[in-house]
């Protein structure tokens, strides 16, 4: 820190890529066309579980324009997958869910491809299917994968401390069952891919994935080729929220391209995207918390059962989060947690913003309210008292390098008037007519998570200062639309003295970008940001040294002011652009490069899963106010207060957007969003019946505030934000509904019919 006021850090500048996106200039996969490009269509199983007896492709092959028809027999048959090798490029002998990929077509038009797909005849002998996780895990249920006779797709267990002593010390034990549901990510851009198989055996895959290098490992293993035979190119991404990690589609399209000898593009329409959507995994929680009469948590137990679907995508990491992440938000004294993921004959589930943490908090934060009520403690003070504090190591070894949670709690109380205001409306709690209530929840999250891919826990970045004065930044973390390119531009601009709009953050291309885990686990701003700070500093130092040697002065005598450099003694001056030009001339065309390596101070977890996996932890305190129409069960969020500690706020405008977006997603999740699957079939694959909230559903009063903080391990003091912002939402709304009606919501969404049912039950 130089002590000079920052020029760009902390400025709420408009997103640097917004203009291109708003005017349609940004080229998403669906906008890309290349010569000879063909279009793909996929034939899917309409049966939830069965043996493929035969596939007749002959009629499809005769459709004019068809260039390739593939079945499982034509694709490499190497089991693969990010966690469990239960993926196949196309189904081989069995289908395991409605939507399972059986065959694929490449044709000269999307219409021809679809027509051909409809003509493929698949004869399937149905097998008994299972859709309930508990039934799937029951002893005599036939397996979905022979390799896993018990249908356990993944299991996670952890314990810490003296649980027996914990329960013995408890004066009050609260417990409850809670379930969370499947959520469709609802991004604007449906999944798409453009694949080109080159004659030399290599591939170029243009895929809107946010973990391109991790995905490449999976793809290379599936195709049985070396890593460097795949070039991953990431175009602009029209939203993901976790859905576009490692998708299967790029492999199907790569094989089609190989077979057809031409580039092939696949772009889903909304119905296909939503029907095969790999939603947030649904979880069933059994939570138990022990607390002393003074309000100190002493023991916690949790048992989590989730659904992986017919194949394992990223659900195991989400399960682990759901079981034990909350132990770094609160000190529970001792804990034991276990979780299982069941195979079912349903579409696979995968990551979504919040990643199991929001799901766990849905129940935990409601139980904490119950404790406050039963012990007659202030719900805010109870939380403050048990929360992990800055400088502490939590029971699993997580190191809280900074936390302004106490300030968040104070501001949430001041801004919302909770719980004093709640007391005012206390008398109105009831089960008839219109009722109002307020509820709060707190949350935290990580900023990166080392165990995901130990090879690249940190990040690296390259700043390229061209002789034409153009500045580019290369990182391995793609932007998903969340505004990260803007923040990285601000960081580079701050360090170089140019303006953010002069900085082009390049899309990730494995042919030139540094390798990285990618954009997940709330890591990109923190990790890529730190690497960008380093790379920018290196570029500046190299340029300063170059100028100093040219002018034959001491580098320490050069002073930068924005893009201008002056030699204090002689008064001689130059600019960033001129100096960059000279540099390139002197170096025979080589642009000035600055390299940044950020190696975070995180720890490998030991055999007991102990260690600090993340450099920083953001915190949030949210308060929701609801109005419930008890006669119909319709609930509305009418007020919302969100107070956050994300360290330094690099861009208040994009930060605020992230929180508003999280509130919108939280309102949707808590009140209306639900992938409705019956007997393995998605009943609502469209925005007509998969409801995401609109403007009319947003609270009339929404207050977003950031408390002052500084995270020593993050760029300019920043840490992550966007996932921490969704984590408290559903619990806050649930607590508010309880406050209004006395009904304890056990499931999300708390949709009208479900709340009405609960009000009926409790009334009788």
């Amino acid at each position: 820190m130089t002590g000079i006021a920052p020029r760009w850090i902390g400025q709420g500048i408009a997103q640097t890529d917004m203009r291109d996106k708003l005017t349609g200039a940004a080229d998403y996969v669906g906008d890309l066309t290349v010569p000879r490009m063909l279009h793909a269509a996929i034939v899917r199983s309409e049966v939830a579980h069965g043996i493929i007896r035969s596939i007749d492709t002959s009629r499809a092959e005769r459709v004019p324009g068809v260039r390739a028809v593939l079945t499982g027999a034509d694709t490499p048959s190497i089991p693969f997958g990010p966690y469990v090798p239960d993926w196949r490029i196309l189904a081989e002998d069995k289908v395991r869910y409605i939507g399972d990929e059986i065959a694929a077509i490449a044709a000269t038009s999307p219409e021809a491809a679809r027509e051909a797909a409809a003509l493929i005849e698949v004869d399937i002998e149905p097998l008994p299917a299972v859709f309930d996780p508990f039934e799937a895990l029951a002893p005599d249920t036939p397996p979905i994968w022979d390799e896993r006779p018990d249908n356990v797709a993944n299991a996670f267990a952890i314990d810490r401390g003296d649980l027996e002593a914990g329960w013995a010390a408890a004066d009050l034990v609260v417990e409850g069952e809670f379930t969370t549901n499947r959520i469709y990510h609802g991004y604007l851009e449906p999944i798409g891919v453009l694949a080109e198989a080159h004659p030399n055996g290599r591939y170029t895959l243009t895929v809107p994935t946010h973990i391109p290098y991790k995905a490449r490992i999976t793809y290379a293993s599936a195709l049985g080729i070396p890593l460097d035979h795949i070039r991953m190119v990431v175009p602009p991404i029209g939203g993901s929220f976790g859905a576009k990690y490692e998708m299967l589609e790029p492999l199907i399209v790569a094989c089609l391209s190989r077979a057809a000898g031409a580039p092939v593009r696949l772009v889903y329409d909304r119905e296909e995207d939503a029907a095969i959507a790999r939603p947030r995994p649904p979880f069933h929680f059994q939570h138990r918390i022990g607390v002393t009469a003074e309000g100190r948590f002493v023991a916690r137990e949790t048992e989590v059962t989730g659904i992986a679907g017919a194949r394992v995508f990223w659900s195991p990491a989400i399960l682990a989060t759901a079981v034990h992440r909350v132990d770094s938000l609160y000190h529970f004294g001792s804990m034991q947690g276990s979780g299982r993921l069941a195979y079912t004959n349903e579409p696979p589930t995968t990551a979504m913003r919040g990643f199991g943490n929001a799901e766990a908090l849905f129940g935990i934060e409601q139980l904490i309210d119950e404790i406050a009520e039963r012990l007659d403690h202030d719900p805010i003070e109870l939380r403050r008292r048990n929360a992990a504090k800055a400088g502490e190591r939590t029971m699993h070894g997580w190191l809280i390098s900074s936390s302004e949670l106490p300030a968040c709690l104070d501001r949430a109380r001041e801004l919302s008037g909770y719980p004093q205001r709640r007391a005012l409306v206390e008398g109105t709690r009831g089960r008839t007519g219109i009722r109002r209530g307020m509820g709060m929840a707190i949350a935290h999250h990580v900023s990166g998570y080392k165990p995901i891919l130990k090879d690249f826990d940190g990040s690296s970045a390259i700043v390229r200062l061209g002789g034409d004065g153009r500045v580019s930044l290369f990182v391995g973390e793609p932007d998903l639309g969340q505004g990260q390119v803007t923040i990285l531009s601000q960081i580079v601009a701050e360090g170089l003295g140019c303006a953010p709009n002069d900085v082009q953050v390049q899309g990730v291309d494995s042919a030139m970008s540094p390798d990285a885990v990618g954009t997940l686990a709330s890591r990109a701003t923190t990790m890529a940001g730190m690497a960008a700070v380093e790379a920018t500093r290196a570029a500046r130092e190299r340029l300063t040294a170059f100028i100093a040697s040219g002018w034959q002065v001491d580098a320490s005598e050069l002073e930068w002011d924005g893009p201008k450099v002056t030699h204090a003694v002689s008064g001689r001056s130059s600019t960033l652009a001129d100096a960059a030009h000279d540099y390139q001339v002197v170096h025979c065309g080589l642009p000035l490069l600055g390299e940044g390596v950020h190696r975070p101070d995180t720890e490998d977890l030991d055999a007991e899963k102990y260690g600090n996996p993340s450099v920083a932890y953001p915190f949030a305190a949210h308060v929701a106010e609801v109005e419930v129409d008890c006669d119909t069960g319709q609930a509305r969020v009418i007020g919302y207060w969100a107070v956050h500690d994300s360290g330094t706020i690099l861009n208040p405008s994009t930060a605020r957007s992230q929180v508003l977006g999280a509130i919108a997603q939280g309102v949707g999740w808590s009140l209306m969003e639900d992938v409705d699957i019956v007997d393995g079939a998605v009943r609502n694959p469209s925005f007509l019946d998969y409801r995401i909230p609109g403007a009319g559903d947003m609270p009339a009063r929404t207050v977003v505030e950031f408390v002052e903080g500084y995270e020593p391990n993050g760029p300019h003091g920043a840490k992550s934000l966007a996932e921490a912002a969704i984590n408290p939402t559903i619990a806050a709304v649930a607590n508010a509904i309880h406050d209004a009606t006395g009904v304890r919501p056990r499931h999300v969404p708390i949709a009208p019919e479900r709340l009405w049912e609960a009000l009926q039950e409790d009334a009788s």
Binding site: N684, R691, P693, E753
Partner: protein, 285 residues
């Protein structure tokens, strides 16, 4: 997944009179009128309808006329929302228009399209029922009038024969207030889970005429005559409150709803009395 209509294979006709429109509809068995297209185009995209000829009604003379006792089939929701007469005479209908879709949909969606699409949840149906609307139909042979209650024969089905068009609905001058209520799962743009409209004409402190209609609660939008009967003649005050409760229960009894992804039949049946009593209560001055 869905199969897209190939526009090059569809004949597009744009008649300028009712007679021409009727002729145009008879050029092919696969001909379909299109008004705002907000139902039809969605159904075409999902492959649920595959017209080979579309007859655009937007240029048909007189179809978009709105007068004191007549709403042309081509009148859009936006027109209704802008009309002072509609607001004063048919408040239930205007409330329904306000709830139908979002701004963009309201600009395109027509009353005729809403009625002819024949969804049991059609927003304008129950308000028009409580205003005693009559459907005016033009066909190859004649022009006929059908009470709106008899216009639908099932979900997605109307009494319109081949070559027939809905021209307008006509409404007798009615007194009193009307109101419309619905249950929706989302406040911004949603289809009704169930709906109800009511109208009460109060003369000398007693109900002179009552109308109650329910939507998405049966294969077609329908009036509940039994509920109307318990209201008529009742004096405003506690008696009317009791009668409203009774009417609400009777409306619940008239439900034969379905289970679908939006709601169970049980919830729909339970919500009808709530909506009917709220709509009726709103009609009491």
């Amino acid at each position: 997944m869905s199969s897209v209509m190939d526009p090059t294979k569809v004949t597009y006709l744009r008649p300028t009179s009712v007679a021409e429109a009727v002729d145009a509809l008879r050029t092919s068995d696969g001909a379909r009128p299109i008004a705002g297209g907000t139902d039809l185009m969605v159904q075409v995209r999902l492959g649920r309808r595959r017209p080979d000829t579309v007859v655009d009604l937007s240029a048909v003379d007189g179809l978009a006329e709105l007068s004191e006792e007549r709403i042309g089939a081509g009148v859009t929701m936006r027109r209704l929302l802008a009309s002072e007469h509609a607001a004063a005479a048919w408040p239930a209908l205007v409330e329904a228009a306000r709830l139908l879709g979002g701004r963009q949909i309201q600009a395109m969606a027509t009353v005729g399209g809403n009625l002819c699409n024949a969804s049991p949840a059609a927003e304008s149906a129950t308000p028009l029922l409580v205003h005693d609307a009559t459907a005016r139909i033009a066909g190859p042979d004649c022009v006929r009038a059908v009470p709106l209650e008899e216009f639908w024969s099932g979900p997605g089905q109307t009494v319109l024969g081949p070559g027939e068009l809905l021209i307008a609905v006509t409404l007798p001058a009615t007194a009193g207030r009307s109101a419309y209520r619905r249950i929706e799962l989302r406040r911004s743009v949603d289809i009704a889970v169930v709906s109800a409209a009511a109208r009460l004409e109060i003369v000398d402190g007693a109900v002179a005429q009552a109308r109650v209609a329910i939507g998405a609660a049966a294969p077609t939008p329908r009036r509940v005559v039994a509920a109307e009967q318990v209201l008529e003649g009742v004096a405003v005050g506690p008696d009317l409150e009791r009668a409203i409760n009774q009417a609400a229960v009777l409306a619940g009894d008239a439900c034969v709803p379905i289970d679908d992804t939006r709601a169970t039949a049980r919830y729909r049946t339970a919500m009808i009395p709530v909506l009917v009593s709220r709509a009726l209560a709103a009609c009491v001055p």
